[in-house]
Structures are given as C-alpha cells and as structure tokens.
Symmetry: none
Subunit: 209 residues, 4 copies
DNA sequence: AGGTAATCGAGACGGTACGTCCAGTCTTTGT
DNA sequence: ACAAAGACTGGACGTACCGTCTCGATTACCT
C-alpha cells in the first residue's frame, strides 16, 4: 500500500495568502459582507482554491481567527505573588488586545461565525475556554489550592464571557470595569475587597429572613 | 389642524406578520441565510412593505428578537430571603429559556446582528444589560448593601456574559455550571472553601426559611 | 376574472439592448466564446434579466439572428422576365450579405446554435427555408408553371444549403460559383446552358449504357 | 544524425482511447457541452496527455470526426449505367448514414467546430467537398462529358449542402426529397416537365439497362 | 548498468463563466 | 397614500472547465 500523494502538492503559500486576505477583508468589511470573490482576488488565488482549503465562510473565518491571526495567543497569567494584581494585569492585556480595532473586528467576526456553525462554535470553545481556563487554573492552583476545580471553569468563562460581551456590544472595558470584574471573580460580589491573598474567610453576610 | 394621514393607513397587522415570519425564518435558517424575499413571501407582504418598516436586515432582527419575540422579558430575581438560591433560580430560568432551540436560534441570531451593526449592538446592550443589572441590583441591594456599586454591573455582565458565551459555543449550562457560577459571583473563586462539586458541602449560611 | 398584469411591466427597451449587445458580442467573439456576463454588462442589464427573456444561449442567439439582426429579410426574387438573371441577381444579393464579416459571424453563430438545440434548429428551418422557398416559388410559378411543386423545396434547399456550406467552410461564393449554381438548379448539370427563358425543352442527354 | 526521440514513446493506444472517448462524449452531450476533463477521465488519461495530442477542442473534434469516426469514408458513386439511379443510390447511402443518431450528432458537432475554427473549416471543406466532388465528377465524366467543368463543384456542393442543411435543421431526407434533389441537380428545376410528384410521370430517358 | 529525458496518470493552480439567489429600488395596478 | 406583485441593476454564491503547472512513477534511449 502506497501512501504517496499523486498530483501536484497543495501550496501552503497560497493557503497563507488566503488567510491573510481574509484577515484584511474581515477588518475592512466585517463578517457579513465578506466575499470569497474578493478574498480570492486579493490573495491572487482562484476561488476554487479557497474552497479546496475551506469548505465554507465560517470555516475560513474560524481558521483565520483561531489558528491564525486575531486571537490572543495563550498568555499565561503572571505570578508575582499578588493574585489580584496578576489577574488584573492579565485581563488588562486581554482588554488591550480587544481594544485594537482590527482585533475587535476579527473576534466579532469569529463570534458571528460561531453563531452560525456548530463546528466553528466547538472550535471556538475549545480554543478560547481551554486557553483561558488553563491560564487561570495554573495561576490559582498555588494561590487558592482549596478552591473547587469546577470554579476555575466558571470563573474563566465569567471573565471571558464578560469581555466578549463588552466587545460585542461595543462597550469599552474601562479600568474600573476590570477592577470590579477581578474583584467579583476573586472575592465575590459581597466579598471583602482589597485582600489579595488566599484563604480569606469570606463570610456570607446575608442573614436571610 | 388635521392630524389625519392621507391615503391608506399602514397596517400594524402586516408589521406583526413580518416579525413573525422573521422569527420563523431565523429559527429555521439562522441569521446569515435570512432572506427578505422569503420573509415577505411568508408574511404575504411585498418587499417594499418590509423595507418601509425596517431599513435593514439587522434592524429587523433586532426588533424581532429584542422588542418582539425571543428575548426573555425582564424577569425580576425572586426574593425568598436566600440570595444564593434566589440567584440560582433566576439563572436557571434564564438557562431554561436558552435551552429551547428556538430561543437559542433567535438569540444567536441577534448576537450575529449585534456583531455587525453598531446600532443593534447598542440596543442589545441597553436591553440585556439594563434588564439583568436592574434585576440583580434590586435583589442584592438589601442582601448586601455594603457591596461596592460598580460590582453590580460587573457581576451582571459576568453572569450574562457567561450564559451568552455558553449559548454561543453550544455548551449546555449544566446545573453544576450554574452552581459554580453563582458561587463565584457571590463569594468569589476562593470564597467557599468547600472541596467538592455538588455544593452540598459548600458552607452556605443562608438558612432558607 | 382579471387578466391585468401585476408588478412592473417588462421593459422592451432592455430586451432590445440585450439583443444588440448579443449581436456585437457574436460578431466580436463568436458563438462559443459568447458570455452572458459580458452581454449583460454591455447591455447595462442584470444577468437575471437576460435569463428572464431567454432561457439559454442558443435561444438568445436564435432570437438575435433570426427575428432580429443578422438574417436577410425575405427578399423577393426580382421578376424582369429573365429567370436566370433574376435568380442570379437574387443569389448575388444573398452572397453579398454573407460576405459582410459581421453577417457571416452572426449566421455562423446561428448555425452553431442550431447544431445544439432542436428548438433553434426548427426555428432556423422555418425561417430560412420558408423564406427562400416562398421567394423562389413565387418567381418560378410563372416561369416554369409545369415544374413539380416538390422541386421548389429541393431547389431552394440546394441553393441555401450550398450558400451556407460555403459560408461554413469559409469559401467565398465567387461569381463563377454562383453562375454554376444557378445553371445547375435551373437546367441541371447536363442542361442547356445560356438560355434564360421559361419552357425550355431540356433534353436529357444521358444515353446510358 | 540521430532522428530517434529520447524518453518514453508516446502511446498510440492512449490517443485512440481519447478519440473514442471524444466520440462517445460528442454523441452523448454535443459539441458545446464537451469537456476535456470528462474525456480525459473517460479515456483514463491525464489532461496534459490530451493537450499533447490536440491543442484545442475544435482540433480534437475535427480529428475525431473527419479522420477518425463519424464521417463516411469516401464512397464512390456506383456506375451501373443509369446515372439518375446511381446518383440516387449514392445519395441514399449518405442519407442513411446521416439518419443514424450517433453519426448525426458527430457531424453536427463537426459543423459547430467548423463554425468556430478557420482551421477546422478548411479541413472540413477539404475532406467533404473533395470527396464528394471527386465521386461525382468521376461518375459524371462519362455520363455527361459535355457538361461545363465548374458544374461538378456546384452540383456537389448543392447536394452536400442540401444534405447537411437537412441534418442541421433536423429535417429527415425523405425519399421524395432525395428524388427531387437528384432531379433538380441532374435536369434542373424545369428539366422534367412532368406535373405530378411521384416521379413516375417524369420522363426519364435513362433506359436502365 | 546507470544516467537522462520525454511521457504517463493525477490533480492543484489562476482564471472565466455559469446559472441561481438575494439586496434594495422602481414601476404598475389594485384598494 | 399604501399595499401586492414583480421587473430592474448589481453582485456574490458555489460549481464546472479551461489550459498550465507540478508531482511521482514509468519507460525508453544513450552513453
């Protein structure tokens, strides 16, 4: 049994050109107005070649944003000892990235793509949640070793969800907002604020009835 | 002075028929494949009539989802005295609504619409954030009067953002996830130092009378 | 029962523009390279409009050549009393028309269209044979009243066939060729040549064996 | 001097397979829908191999129809002594061939090819006219030695033209039509002054010994 | 025997055109 | 004046072929 490929080998260079053209088109026109015709023309490729690599608009966008350009590479949360500050810095890095118009356009586009395709949605989740959850858990493990593991997921998705929501609705993630977000996730809405070490005995003030 | 309009009066019935047709089309095909031609045909209306009411696809979708069908009417957070349970119940109601395929499709569509139109994004934000933030603050005000004011927004958007994120990426909001989310937002990731998942061990002071 | 049309009335002006653009494209590029895209663009029309009028390339070409531009309007054979000369003049008029490059291109195109579509072939036959046969029979009726009626068809198609064949194979219809053709059809290959009046007692010279 | 070619020898078998595939495709889909891709696939050949042999669609079709399958090999006109009957028989043989659907499709295709390519037109003319003219002149030379020399060409093209015209426009060459055609070409339209159609009354001097 | 070179099937490549669908506008008739 | 019907321009869709260009694998000739 021969595993050798027959025919001309597919050109990686063309694939990259297509992704770059897609990135530019997305930044310029957004997801809905995205045109395969234009992308192919801008990449100096035939339309068929684009379709050979990516079967649909959403697949192309997913590849472009998730595995190519656009989404923040998995940044580890810094570990200076001060969790709150570390988290805050990490989130601010994320916010700064989202504040760039081009990145914002790309991620909004991948949002729209995920809204339309189950497959893209799954890839989006795998990429984004895994990355941020890993980053968070790695940092929190030694800061709050007693925390339930499920919390990491919830906290990660609360953070990512809030950031993406702000991006979607065009509300800037102000420093104040980031502060509140970190506080909420670290200590809870009713928590004692200001303390950044682990093991705080958060008391639930609600007396109920 | 005569306030009466000349000619035939614009039919409110037609407008409703258009919105209903839009809802059905959205549920059936999603935002991207939405076709004004089909909507008009399904509503028994002329295309011009649709354009007379709504200038663009995104405006139509926004109207349909936000002010018409699709988005949950502002549900107040119940107040039984037990905040955690109240919040949990409220969130579960939201989750149940999102779990219905038709609602999910509609909200995903409005997400895509918001990603494309600044105007829709603003309406989306106004509608969703205002509603949930109001609901939350109203409940938390007497539960934790000492909480910092910014927290309500952050907490509301963390909750809503996480829920919408789960909807977007097609991950079901499991009871465990809701538990963790409520815990995180209420007490912070380090708040409840219970170790296991089911929340039974989690020290919840609320006696639920 | 109302027979009235609803909606915008179809524009004859556009139809004419399409036919004219088709004529120009045919003359410029020939049948095979004919492009509906180019035709529509040249006519300032949408592609859909072209397809609304004509369902296929061959139908468009048939309409253009047969009922529009290109094919000689039914010219009656002159009647000066001298059949041979009349016929010769009539044929020469036909030849002159075919000698024009644009006409040649158009008729070659309709030939190709007829080769591909049964429907176009029928229209081609109806138009061309009927016209030439009528022209011929009208003239021959008083010149050779004794001729069998079937002969007129055969003669007409022999003439038309020979002319179209010459056009197809790019051989000019020289004066000598036209002379021979008229002689053959009028008097037969063995006939007495030179006489141009009617009622000649053509003798069949073939002695056989 | 070495005339030997280096490298692998071109496979005549492949060339034949290509021509046969072309013939089948032509019969099945016609000239316009002809696809080199399909031909190559059907012949089990690479596209490049097809192009190595034939530079264009029209060249391939010409080769296929003229020098390969499709066109009648040059049939000599029989010589039994009775010209009229000989000619009629010869023409009937031609008509029978054209009546076969596959042959008809092939010749119609070559017609379309000739309409598009000057080169194919020339080859078509050379092949068809030369063959039929030679056949005719050979037979007529001893039947009507006094006929003008130009007549043979005109007569041949009148016959061939009429037959091809009938083929093109999908009109069957009925026995009556063939009779009339032979009569016209042999004796002229006014030649036989019989009045009725069946040709029985037509005074035919040839005793048919 | 070991290059050297042309050919083979296969199939990716940049393009062009296809025929369909839809957006958004305009026109016509009916109410 | 509004409504339905639907034709209009324009443009993108996804597919099919075109003719060219690599590929690895065969053949053949020529040292």
């Amino acid at each position: 049994m021969s595993d050798t490929r027959r025919g001309r080998t597919r050109s990686e260079a063309v694939r990259r050109a297509v992704l770059e053209a897609t990135r530019d088109e997305l930044a310029a026109h957004g997801y809905d107005k995205l045109s395969i015709d234009r992308i192919a023309a801008a990449a100096g490729a035939g339309k068929q070649t684009v379709y050979r690599w990516y079967p649909s608009k959403s697949a192309l966008v997913a590849e472009c944003v998730l595995d190519g350009y656009g989404f923040p590479a998995t940044t580890p949360v810094p570990n200076t000892g001060a969790v709150r500050r570390d988290l805050r810095d990490w989130l601010e890095g994320f916010a700064d990235h989202l504040a760039e118009p081009q990145s914002a356009a790309l991620i909004r586009a991948s949002t729209a793509a995920a809204a339309e395709s189950d497959d893209v949605a799954r890839r989006f989740y795998d990429h984004v949640t895994a990355a941020s959850e890993d980053a968070l858990t790695a940092r929190l493990r030694d800061a709050a070793p007693t925390a339930r593991p499920a919390s990491a997921t919830a906290a990660a998705e609360a953070l990512v969800g809030a950031m993406l929501y702000r991006l979607l609705v065009r509300q800037p993630a102000t420093p104040e907002f980031l502060d509140s977000l970190v506080d909420t996730v670290l200590s809870g809405i009713q928590g004692t604020n200001g303390t950044d070490s682990a093991g705080t005995q958060a008391r639930d003030l609600t007396p109920d009835c």
